[in-house]
Every structure is written in C-alpha cells, then in structure tokens.
Assembly symmetry: C2
Homo-oligomer: 305 residues x 2
C-alpha cells in the first residue's frame, strides 16, 4: 500500500531558547514523507527551486520515498520560512515567509500518481487541495491538514474540501477558530457533521485526541525533558499516523489508535533536534521501543502490569 503526499518542501530558519539555525531542511511534505516511510512507500509531490541541492535530497535516500513528483524549477528559489519559539514551545512566531517557487505551485499529478491508496493533502491552500483530490481516482483514504491562515482567508474553500475527505488532522486552536465553539468535543462534532469520519486533534505538548462518531481516544505527548525544536512535529505526527494506516489492510478503531501512537512516537523524536536531524538517526526498532513506552505511559489496568 502506498501513500501520496502533496505539500511543501522548504528551507527553514529557526530560533528556539536552545539554539538557532539559519538554513535547514523543512516543509510539511518533507517531515510527512520521512515519517511515513518508516511504514510504507511514499510518493512525494512538491516543488523546489534550483537552490535545492542533491545534498538536500539526501534525507530521502535509502527510504521508501519516491521523488518523481518533486519538481525543480530553474531560476527560482525554494519556499523559505523563518520562525521563533519562546519558552512556550507550543506557539511558533513567524518572522518571515518567502513563498518563492511555492507561490505558483499548482500540482499536476502524473498518470502514475492519480491512483494512490492513501492521499494526504498537507497544509496548502484549500482550493489546491480540492484540485489535487479531483485529479485522483477515489483513494481508499483521504486526509488533510490545514492552518489558521486558510480558516481566516479561505473558509468557504476549506469547507468544500472538508466535505470531501475521510480524515482531518488539525490543531486544537484551529478547531475552535473554524467552528467558533469553545468546547473541543462540540467543535469536533461540528466538523464531523460535514463529512469526515475521523478528526485527529493535535494539542502540542498535551498530545492528540481522536474523535469519531462512536469513540474518543486521547494520547498524551511523550514526556520529554528536552524539547529542542517543535518545528515539524505536526507533520511528522501525520506522517507516522497515516503511514501506519497505509500499511494496514483495513482501518479498524484499533488500527487508528495504534496509528495515533506511532505518529506520536515519531513526532517525539522530531522535536529532540533541529529539522529532521533526529529522524535521520532513528531506526524502526527505536520507534517500536518508544511505542512500548507509550503503553507504560498511558495504561492503567492491564493484566500484565
């Protein structure tokens, strides 16, 4: 089973209370692809400029990430984001955004990309998300992420694409912003009423809550003594989550719960270092080990405990 992701590949400049980096690899599709590739094959669709070097591509080497859909535009620069975090690492302050080549990004899927098993529409303009979805034969599972900017500036478009997807990965504050409802569960139910079967709410250091028509599942974040840089945590989570689901023959409630934990595990590694530096180092065994730690972190009435 394979997964197609459409999103950004970028360069980031990041400052946290613990360090600073002027240019590192970033972008939603980058974090997503690397995380998902621990479990499944990934087709990445994105665009970069000619400042994106073969060395920058090294993150994908030796992984199940197919780059046929990564377009390199001559004479243009890669999407650039600069952000800063204070001691409250839950909130990034954007210092600069240079869309560059991303400003004209209008994904045209090649014939071989039009039949994905799982489609992830990473955080791009919602009309583009809908356009990509229309280019595909109906995938088994369609998921999207979004952001406060689109809720504020393109809410109708966002609502249109929300009606078409199976699963939404979204921040807690964005649920409240989109629904104008203070209670998270009520807000979640409003979004589910539009069509999605599953809402996965990212809550930063408080973990993740998954809401479906029948059930609520809550997972804490892994309790790290040193969160170094939260950039990419949400996209890494989505990659681990959907990557695991793509590897399963069907998607049961049990699979969804496990997928939430695998996503949380991968995100917990991402935040330990800048950029994808920590994801470069870890193996699937490290992922499984931390998965077991999540069990110890959350279970209270196991017979074997």
């Amino acid at each position: 089973m394979s997964i197609l992701v459409v999103g950004s590949v970028a360069f980031d400049a990041i400052q946290t209370p613990f360090g600073k980096v002027d240019r590192c690899l970033g972008g939603s599709a980058t974090y997503f692809s690397v995380a998902a590739s621990f479990f499944t094959e990934v087709d990445l669709v994105a665009v970069v400029g000619d400042d994106f070097t073969d060395d920058d591509l090294s993150i994908f080497r030796g992984r199940n990430v197919n780059l046929d859909g990564l377009q390199r535009v001559a004479g243009a620069k890669t999407f650039f984001w600069s952000g800063e975090y204070g001691f409250d690492l839950n909130v990034a302050k954007t210092r600069d955004t240079q869309l560059n080549v991303f400003a004209d990004f209008k994904p045209e899927l090649s014939e071989k990309h039009r039949n994905p098993d799982v489609l992830f529409l990473a955080n791009i303009q919602p009309d583009l998300q809908l356009d990509v979805l229309k280019q595909c034969r109906r995938p088994r599972l369609v998921a999207l992420d979004t952001m406060n900017l689109w809720i504020a500036t393109a809410k109708e478009s966002l609502t249109r694409i929300l009606r078409e997807v199976d699963l939404v990965v979204i921040n807690e504050a964005e649920v409240r912003q989109y629904t104008e409802e203070a209670n998270l569960i009520k807000g979640a139910r409003q979004i589910l009423a539009l069509g999605p079967k599953t809402l996965v709410v990212k809550r930063g250091e408080y973990g993740v809550m998954m809401i479906t028509a029948d059930a609520v599942f809550a997972a804490p974040a892994y309790p790290l003594e040193a969160v170094f840089d939260p950039t990419g945590a949400g996209d890494t989570f989505a990659g681990g989550f959907l990557g695991y689901l793509a590897s399963r023959a069907e998607v049961t409630d049990r699979d969804l719960r496990r997928a939430i934990i695998f996503g949380s595990v991968l995100a917990s590694f991402t935040v330990e270092k800048f950029s994808l530096d920590r994801l470069r180092e870890i193996t699937l065994n490290d992922v499984y080990d931390r998965y077991q730690e999540f069990r110890a972190l959350t279970h209270f009435d196991d017979h074997e405990q």
Copy 2:
C-alpha cells in the same frame, strides 16, 4: 483505613458562560471529603461561621464523613469566594475573597484526629500545613495541595512543608511558577528532589500527569461536551485519588494509576453542574461505569479490544 483532610469549607458565588449562582456550597475540604467518601472514611477538619446551617451540612449526610473536626464559630461568617470563568474554563478569575472565620483558622487536632492513616493538607497557608502535620503521629501517606498565592508570598514555608510530604497535588502552572522551569518534567523532578516520592500535576482540560522517580503516567480529562462549572474539580480529583489510595492496603504503581483515574472520574462529574450538585446525584456504580470509559478512552493495545 481513614483519611484526614484539613482545608476550607466555604460559600461560593460563581459565574460561568452557562449560568450564575450567588451562594452555593464550596471549599477545598468540602469537595475533597465528598469525593473521598466514595472509597473510605473521611475526617474533615475545617471552620465555618454561624451562617452555615444544618441544611448546608446535608451534603455530608449518609456519607462516610465525620464532622467532629468541623468547628462552628459564633458571630462570624463562613469563608466566601466569588469567581468567574470565561469560555476558557481552565482559568478562574477571582472577583472577591472574604476570609471571614478562615482568617484566624489555626487547626488544633483533637486526640482522635492525631493518628490518621492518610493526611491531606488541602490548599491552606503552608505554615499551617506544617503545623497540622506536626500534630500528627506520622501518617502512612501525607499529601498536600497548594496555590500560586503561597508560591508568590510564602515560598520558603512552602519549601519546608514540601520536604515533609510524600505526595504533592499541584497545577501545571504552579510547577512552572515554583521551579521557574519551562519544561514540566524537569520542573517536576526538581520538586521530587526535595523529598516527595510522587508528583501529581493537574492540567485542567488536558487531564493529569503523575511523575515519580521511575515512571510517568498521563491520563486525559474525560471528554465532556458540556463543562458547566470547573470550580472544585481539582479538590474533587484529590479526594477521589487519595480516597481510593486510602482504601488500599498498600500503594503500588498500579494503585496510583487507578487512583488517578478514579480522581479524574469524580472530577469529571463535579464540573457537570454547579457546586457539589452532580456529586450529590451519582452512585459508586456511576463512578465504576465512567472508570471503564476511561479505559476505552486511553488504551490502545489491549488484547480484548
């Protein structure tokens, strides 16, 4: 096994986005006692004025709450707190505090109260907490709660009593305030280094995290679609948590985890109505039912799932 609680019995005036009440029963020791009494016998030590009627006492009737230690002072008024919540129900805004009879509260334990099995020092001035502890023969388990006011105004006293207790129940923001450490786990370890074996961190709508030398356990809050009034949630949690522990012959990691869930269950009922109105209605069966729901809410890899 019995538990002794020293704290406040009060009248509250509360306004939330969902309603308003000018005078209702409140106080840390009130919520704590009623919650703990689901599991064990409770001795309540507190003080009220002569405006506290027999009708106000009705909450304790038919429960395992011994009121011999509840002093009624003639010609004085009961402690009064008035607070308000906006849509962010995690934060109460105090409108008025009238200490009244509580201003001169200096608990003198009777001989029969000096040998508790479990002692809970609810949120009172830390020198008073230490004074109460010194009046007791060493209990099996001593726990305390505190608040931002004492961290700001009586930090040395608070540190003295922290060195003497086994278990601390504290808000997340208070851990950060006391330790001046942004990372919660690091802050928690600083407090554990003073002496307590167990730190239980209350995180409002995000639930509870328990940190010991060997383990971290995280439990979400019960996902309610209608949180009506959060007043007393923390004290109810502490009551359910310690009440359950007091009912156990010894305190294992497994007992601590179960106790966290029982505390969370009881707190989730408290916030459904004003004051202790919801606690009045529920039975131990309701508690057990919701306990099972917490299992479904958090477990991801049970064999029976």
